[in-house]
């Protein structure tokens, strides 16, 4: 094991053994204690809110699930939300008849139709929403995921070729501007400091 001189004892002590000194250990203990205190409080307060009973939000949740997953599993969770929306008494601005039609559409696997009906069912509720503050979503309509690029292939090709040119050009310049020696060459050079210039000229003349 590597050793280093210890000023207090005048001897050498293993380095690994001195990695944590008593003073530092106290700091470490304080930090860890603080961390555990926060952690304890965190676990204690990790309780929670309940599921919403607001009708239009339940309908939005159904729409949210359908926007991400139109498989049988997605339809199933959406159906649960639709059922909740039909059961809740807090249904201001919600057209219950439309929600029922949406449920029927979901049962018939007509996802797009169900989405349209749900959106219509809550249109009055979302139109009456005040400007969003705090954590409010402010969501009025729920569109499906949008691809990150418009469907015009021509500019994409130009951009791809320009990018490739930059990548190659930049890499070439970075290679050209590389340091004069590799780390291995530097190591060899520095190993024989007295002989440095002679060695440099040897490397240049093959």
């Amino acid at each position: 094991m590597t050793r280093r001189p210890d000023s207090r004892t005048g001897t050498t002590v293993p380095i690994e053994a001195t990695a944590v000194r008593p003073g530092r250990r106290a700091v470490l203990v304080v930090i860890l204690a603080g961390l555990f205190a926060v952690a304890g409080a965190a676990t204690a307060s990790a309780h929670g809110g309940e599921e919403t009973t607001v009708g239009y939000v339940l309908a939005q949740q159904a729409l949210g699930h359908l926007a991400h997953d139109t498989s049988a599993a997605g339809i199933e969770v959406a159906m649960e939300k639709v059922d909740d929306a039909l059961e809740t008494s807090d249904n201001a601005g919600v057209d219950i008849a439309k929600v029922q039609q949406a449920r029927a559409a979901l049962e018939a696997n007509q996802v797009t139709r169900a989405q349209e009906l749900l959106a219509q069912a809550i249109s009055a509720a979302v139109a009456a929403l005040p400007p969003a503050t705090g954590m409010s979503t402010g969501t009025r309509t729920i569109e499906p995921e949008l691809a990150g690029r418009p469907d015009a292939p021509a500019p994409s090709w130009i951009l791809a070729i320009a990018s490739l040119a930059l990548l190659l050009g930049g890499s070439y310049l970075a290679y050209r501007y590389r340091p004069a020696d590799t780390p291995a060459q530097l190591r060899r050079r520095l190993a024989q400091p007295a002989d440095r210039d002679a060695q440099a000229s040897r490397e240049e003349t093959p």
Partner: protein
């Protein structure tokens, strides 16, 4: 210190001034006022290696993020009712902006990756040791800010992914009690939290990073670049050996610029090949989307022990990073002589990788309000 190799930028003597071309003399006039040639100070050659250029590449990513970010702010509407629609508009209607957005998206992840690699390089070469502990701490602060920027950027899209990330953040802030107040919607309940996070994303975070980076760079200059541990017989030395050849710092800047161009090309290719989609507008009370991959390791912990897993995981990592230079008093810089530090670091890196991979095979679970 050894002498510089012959370099015209450095070895100009006043005697030759009359024979210099007119444009050189014009540059001299500018330089007398701005002192640009002061940048040709010598730096040890190993500082031009890729490993020692990772900090510079991170800075190049930051420049790309600022430029593309400024363009995006021209078209982005930071209010909940409009935010998602405005991003869709950016993608479909503003000429070329889908590409700018794609470069911004990929540059953010590139900056995270290069900052992490830079951190690892500084760790592996023991460069955080005396006298560079302060600069290590500035680095840790910047790393935290980079992660915070990734998080706020995700929220700005105001789609389900961003909103769920925000929900997690708010609940973790609640766990912290008063300490998390700023993240709570109750802090200023007359404005949307989106507007506050927007101000953090476009002003506070980049502003702080720029200020801290200025300090970081000044300290690198003041302490001089750390030695390459394998180039010196004495791996406890705080400086590169006097015998190591040097190059002007401008050569370093030149190489970083070239690497920055290559980075822009790579990000452009990613933006064309994998343009980031825009998800559906958010709905409260559902959890259907996984967060961005840099956060996956913390979310695996969350799946195991609940929301507080994020707090423990993130808290532990940053506590270790902050404490490192104070706990690790081993004066050696070569990894071979730092067995304890290397073992612990490998365990941490392996844990983060394994936790990340586990999340790749998991579907989104419900944690909020649990």
């Amino acid at each position: 210190m050894s002498t510089l190799r012959a370099d015209p930028a450095i070895s100009t003597s006043p005697n030759t001034a009359a024979t210099r071309p007119w444009w050189r003399r014009a540059l001299d006039v500018v330089d007398d006022r701005l002192g640009i040639t002061a940048l040709t100070y010598p730096v040890p050659e190993h500082a031009n290696n890729i490993a020692w250029s990772l900090g510079g590449i991170t800075a190049a990513a930051l420049v790309l993020l600022v430029v593309t970010g400024i363009l995006l702010t021209q078209f982005y509407a930071p209010v909940p009712e409009e935010a998602n629609a405005s991003v869709r508009h950016i993608v479909t209607h503003e000429w070329g902006m889908w590409f700018v957005r794609g470069v911004h998206f990929w540059a953010a992840q590139a900056m995270y990756v290069t900052a992490a690699l830079h951190l690892l390089r500084v760790f592996l070469t023991g460069s955080y040791k005396r006298p560079r502990e302060g600069n290590w701490l500035i680095g840790v602060a910047m790393f935290g800010l980079v992660i915070f920027a990734l998080f706020t950027g995700t929220v700005l899209k105001w789609d389900q992914e961003g909103y769920e990330a925000l929900g997690h953040n708010v609940e973790v802030a609640n766990l912290l009690g008063g300490g998390g107040l700023w993240f709570s919607p109750d802090f200023a309940n007359r404005v949307s939290i989106l507007i506050r996070l927007y101000s953090a994303h476009v002003v506070l975070i980049p502003g702080l990073i720029v200020v801290l980076f200025t300090l970081h760079a000044l300290l690198v200059k003041r302490h001089r670049i750390s030695p390459h541990p394998s180039l010196t017989a004495d791996d406890e030395s705080t400086d590169a050996p006097a015998a190591e050849p040097v190059e002007p710092f401008t050569h370093h800047l030149r190489r970083i610029s070239a690497l920055g161009l290559a980075l822009l090309g790579a990000l452009g290719l990613l933006a064309v090949t994998f343009p980031p989609p825009v998800g559906p507008a958010p709905v409260e009370g559902i959890e259907v989307i996984k967060p961005m991959w840099p956060f996956w390791w913390m979310f695996t912990l969350e799946n195991w022990i609940g929301l507080s897993g994020i707090l423990y995981g993130g808290g532990a990592l940053f506590t270790i990073l902050v404490a490192l230079p104070f706990i690790d008093r081993n004066p050696h810089r070569a990894w071979r002589h730092r067995r304890v530090a290397m073992t612990i670091a490998s365990a941490i890196v392996a844990a983060i990788i394994v936790l990340t991979i586990l999340m790749a095979f998991t579907t989104a679970k419900t944690h909020l309000g649990m």
